[in-house]
């Protein structure tokens, strides 16, 4: 008898205890893969209803496409359109917004540019981020910037220090010294093209280079690998050592950064889209680019554009599916990613440290999360949005892309909450919504040999009337490279028009 009563008592208590899991709303965000796969599968598209003659078309409304448009307009050229496949422009800088905050869907910061990054500075002066040589304080990432969950507690900064041995610390010091030497060579620049020279580093993977240099500290190796996963979506063993070194040796910020906003680089995209509104056509997927005499015919939806020049700012791997006689793109590797935005209507309990902007869990396959409300001027914040980043670096990109499509939302939701639970045991009581964006070809991956790649060089130098402008031509997808490639393409188009 008492056994049944016992069960009843426990059941009654479980119902009352505050620790029950709550329902989480959410789903997948439209990532354009369905519409994109129509191209891959060579699906038939309807014939055009109208043909418009125009000198220039920009394909792709991400940072590269928008930067090309920004450059054309700045140089006084106004006779062009920009065609974006999705309903919202921005590409990897796209963003979202809900009743709590604006938040990024992918790229979420720009490192404070050094003096050499003239174009980035020019844009930032235009947008009020840089005024008379001073960076606007509210766009610089607020304190505390980063924290790492290691050995069951949060520590300040991402470089592991909790329980670090003298050996670990010595290796970090030696590593920093080596990176300073590389920086001094002037070969590791942003934009990369300004300094890059053929290098034996490109024949090694980053982990081979660490072996060669006898870096054995597990903390250091985790840290380097984290950097590769974060910027390239690849493990250190799959990253060219040249790119791995570039991550650490290229940046010389003259201010504590990075530069960021609640909606990440969506802040930039939003302003560029506003400025360039009259050139941008969204929901306009280009499905064919064919030669017609000396011109090109660009087919998008029910409209054909008859143009002199095309700036191809969409990911370069798409070109062979779209363009008649486009060069093959075989050597380019792209990393699949997953991002999620979690709406928290209450904050998890914190014991050690205040929530930072970037919050990383040691030894997790994921990259951690960024807090959208961190850049808020408010002192009291009781609801927030976290953007969770996961570069699927383990295993082959193709297999991971398949997994991205095969698994349902619930699978990813559980995986994400499970990962966060390690550092936030009460996370399931805090999350009211969790939306997931799957990016099959999120960013270019600088594999060993990418720097020396003949194919990459040919596409970079391509002339004629089809010019490539995506950041993947640099081997890695960062804001500065996208902008640089696009501005160069725009200049070249204007030169030959």
């Amino acid at each position: 008898m008492s056994s049944t009563r016992r069960e009843f008592l426990s059941a009654a208590l479980i119902g009352l205890s505050p620790k029950t899991d709550r329902a989480v709303a959410g789903g997948f965000i439209d990532d354009g893969h369905q519409i994109g796969h129509l191209l891959r599968d060579r699906a038939p598209f309807p014939a055009a209803k109208q043909t418009i003659k125009i000198p220039i078309v920009i394909v792709g409304g991400g940072i590269a496409g928008l930067s090309a448009a920004w450059r054309l307009e700045k140089r006084g050229f106004k006779d062009f359109v920009l065609l974006e496949m999705l309903k919202q422009g921005g590409g990897n800088a796209r963003w979202g917004e809900n009743e709590v905050s604006a938040y990024p869907w992918a790229a979420h910061y720009v490192p404070v540019p050094g003096k050499k990054a003239a174009l980035v500075r020019e844009l930032f002066e235009e947008l009020g981020v840089l005024r008379d040589g001073v960076w606007e304080e509210r766009y610089l990432c607020f304190s505390p910037q980063e924290r790492l969950y290691l050995h069951g507690r949060w520590q300040e900064g991402i470089e592991p220090v909790t329980a670090a041995t003298a050996l670990d610390r010595a290796e970090f010091t030696r590593f920093a010294a080596r990176m300073n030497e590389f920086r001094a060579t002037g070969q590791f620049t942003i934009p990369m093209e300004l300094g890059a020279k053929p290098s034996p580093l490109d024949r090694l993977s980053m982990s081979q280079w660490l072996d060669q240099e006898r870096f054995t500290s597990p903390y250091l190796r985790w840290y380097v690998s984290y950097a590769c996963r974060d910027d390239y979506g690849a493990l250190a063993k799959d990253t060219s050592a040249w790119a791995g070194v570039h991550y650490f040796a290229s940046r010389e910020p003259d201010e504590k950064g990075p530069i960021t906003w609640p909606e990440g680089n969506g802040w930039i995209a939003r302003r560029l889209l506003q400025k360039l509104d009259r050139y941008v056509r969204t929901g306009a997927m280009v499905h064919r680019v064919t030669r017609e005499g000396r011109r090109l015919r660009v087919s998008a939806g029910d409209t054909d554009y008859l143009v002199e020049r095309v700036i191809f700012a969409a990911p370069t791997f798409l070109a062979p599916y779209l363009c008649e006689d486009a060069p093959a793109v075989r050597g380019f590797v792209y990393s699949p990613w997953l991002t999620a935005n979690l709406t928290l209507d209450r904050l998890p309990r914190e014991r050690d440290l205040e929530t930072a902007w970037d919050n990383v869990i040691y030894d997790s396959p994921t990259l951690g999360y960024v807090v959208a409300t961190h850049q808020s001027l408010r002192t009291h914040i009781d609801r927030t949005v976290w953007t969770f980043y996961w570069s699927l670096a383990e295993g082959s990109p193709a297999a991971n892309r398949r997994m991205l499509l095969d698994k349902d939302w619930n699978f990813w939701k559980e995986a994400i909450l499970h990962d966060l639970e390690r550092a936030h045991p009460d996370i399931r009581q805090c999350v009211s919504r969790l939306d997931v964006l799957r990016l099959g070809h999120a960013m270019a991956r600088p594999v060993p040999g990418f720097l020396a790649s003949e194919e990459r060089r040919r596409l970079t130098e391509s002339s004629g009337n089809l010019l490539f402008a995506n950041s993947d031509l640099s081997g890695f997808s960062i804001f500065e490279e996208a902008q640089y490639r696009a501005v160069r393409a725009a200049d070249s188009v204007l030169l030959h028009l």
């Binding site: 008592l9 009352l16 304080e137 610089l140 304190s143 504590k256 001027l377």
Partner: protein, 498 residues
């Protein structure tokens, strides 16, 4: 007869569940980690019930008398369990020991109840029917209790009185049983007397429940707590000892009524009295209305805007009889406009300018509050100053937090303002510092409002002199992207307390 009997089964089942809920909830409230607390409380409680059930076999004679005395014991221990646990938390180091001792004691007693009762009923009903009915009412009672507890008891009665109420029910069932089973009961008078004594004791506890809770809260603060409320933003506590009323926000002392005049006169008058033409004043923070009281001494000031985050705070200081005497009804003065908003965001969206701005925020104990002490904030503040305007900033102690104080001065300078640091002694705080800042040179006032208790025109200039142990030290400016102040502050106060 049977229905009445089964009703008492439902009642004692409810009592048993309530005590378990009270213990689990209290442990979660006071210690946190609710899963662990609930889990261990349920576990030890159920185990103890098992022990009680086992022990029931050793009760062989005088079943009804034993049942009645067990009910009385459950009533006493369970009824006072919540009060005992609160006091144990406030006054002893061994809260957890007492928690589990109480849980096990109640569990053993509750475990004895039903087996004994079934044996009492054994001869009155058919076994099949009896088991079915006893269990049905047992579960019904538990259901009622589990619903009542979160919906009605905790919000309406609170933990202490809920437990006492169910203690009374247990004792009531005991008294009632002496009538229900009177044929099988000898020594009824003695038992009934015991029942009345227990009922009276629990009733007295019920009447004094308020005092018990207060006694527990009082021990956490040195003085008597006269008001305590958790708002969305902070915990507001007012304490009183003789004529000294103190305000604590999230455990940080904000003022003592004995010497707050020193603080607030020094905060307002050196700056405002030097601006004879001042018409518009802004107060950021200062929801206690005490800075307002000082500003209202200037008849030429036409409008004062006060921005404080917490509406509960401004409501309390607009309505509490003692507090409105202290701030002289300043918050409800027609010249005053109260706005409840986050100051940085509000200022960012406002385009008004002011002749005098009082910045009276809590100390920069964390990065969230630290934002209110940055170059970005002070630049924004400077934009809202009229041409000849001045701002005064509460800047923590130049003695105890010397680097923090000079960091605030440096931050104001970096924001393009001329700074005039000064300090005074406030007994309940110690040495305290302010900084006047403006775009134009400041001259100490030649006239002050009449009837000030602390300041005089001759003592004002002295406040701008710093003795050797408070002289400037090197400090970086505090910036949103590099909040050195929070680190200085933590370091400064750690030095003091170690």
């Amino acid at each position: 007869m049977p229905v009445v009997l089964f009703l008492s089964v439902a009642l004692i089942a409810a009592c048993g569940l309530i005590y378990e809920l009270v213990a689990g909830t209290l442990a979660s409230y006071l210690l946190g980690d609710s899963v662990f607390q609930f889990s261990t409380v349920i576990g030890s409680y159920l185990f103890a019930m098992g022990v009680g059930s086992y022990l029931s076999r050793f009760v062989t004679r005088g079943l009804v008398a034993r049942f009645v005395s067990i009910e009385l014991m459950v009533g006493l221990v369970g009824g006072f369990s919540s009060a005992a646990l609160f006091l144990a938390f406030a006054y002893t180091q061994g809260f957890q020991l007492i928690l589990y001792a109480v849980v096990i004691a109640i569990g053993v007693l509750v475990g004895l109840e039903i087996p004994l009762l079934m044996r009492i009923l054994k001869n009155r009903l058919e076994f099949r029917e009896m088991v079915a009915h006893v269990l049905t009412f047992d579960y019904l009672g538990a259901l009622a209790a589990s619903l009542l507890f979160p919906i009605l008891l905790v919000p309406k009665l609170g933990m202490v009185r809920s437990a006492l109420l169910f203690g009374l029910i247990n004792a009531g069932v005991a008294l009632w049983s002496t009538y229900l089973f009177r044929e099988e009961l000898g020594g009824r008078t003695l038992l009934r007397t015991a029942c009345v004594v227990v009922l009276a004791t629990l009733g007295a506890g019920m009447a004094g429940a308020e005092k018990i809770t207060q006694a527990a809260d009082n021990n956490l603060y040195a003085d008597e707590v006269i008001f305590a409320r958790d708002t969305r933003y902070q915990r507001i506590v007012l304490t009183k000892w003789k004529d000294d009323v103190r305000l604590f926000l999230s455990s940080h002392l904000q003022f003592s009524s004995r010497d707050e005049y020193r603080y607030h006169e020094a905060l307002v008058h050196p700056g405002l009295a030097s601006l004879p033409g001042a018409r518009r004043v802004l107060v950021l923070g200062g929801g206690d209305g005490l800075a307002l009281r000082e500003i209202l001494k200037y008849p030429d000031v036409a409008s004062i805007t006060l921005v404080d985050l917490d509406p509960e705070m401004t409501r309390l200081f607009s309505t509490h009889p003692y507090l409105v005497t202290l701030n002289q009804h300043s918050l409800t003065n027609p010249r005053v406009h109260v706005i409840n908003a986050d100051a940085f965001v509000w200022l960012d969206r406002s385009s008004d300018s002011y002749d005098f701005i009082v910045v009276d925020f809590p100390d920069p104990t964390n990065y969230s509050l630290g934002k209110l002490y940055t170059t970005a904030f002070y630049r924004l503040m400077a934009k809202h100053l009229s041409a000849q305007g001045l701002a005064v900033v509460q800047s923590t102690s130049p003695l105890f937090a010397r680097q923090s104080y000079w960091c605030i001065v440096e931050t104001l300078k970096q924001a393009g303002l001329k700074t005039y640091p000064y300090h005074l002694y406030v007994p309940s705080f110690g040495e305290w510092g302010f900084v006047l800042a403006g775009l134009h040179p400041f001259e100490p006032p030649v006239r002050l409002p009449s009837k000030l208790r602390y300041l005089s025109t001759s003592t004002v200039p002295q406040m701008f002199q710093f003795p050797n142990d408070m002289l400037p030290v090197d400090a970086e400016p505090n910036r949103l992207n590099d909040q050195v102040l929070v680190r200085y502050y933590e370091h400064d106060w750690r030095e003091i307390t170690h």
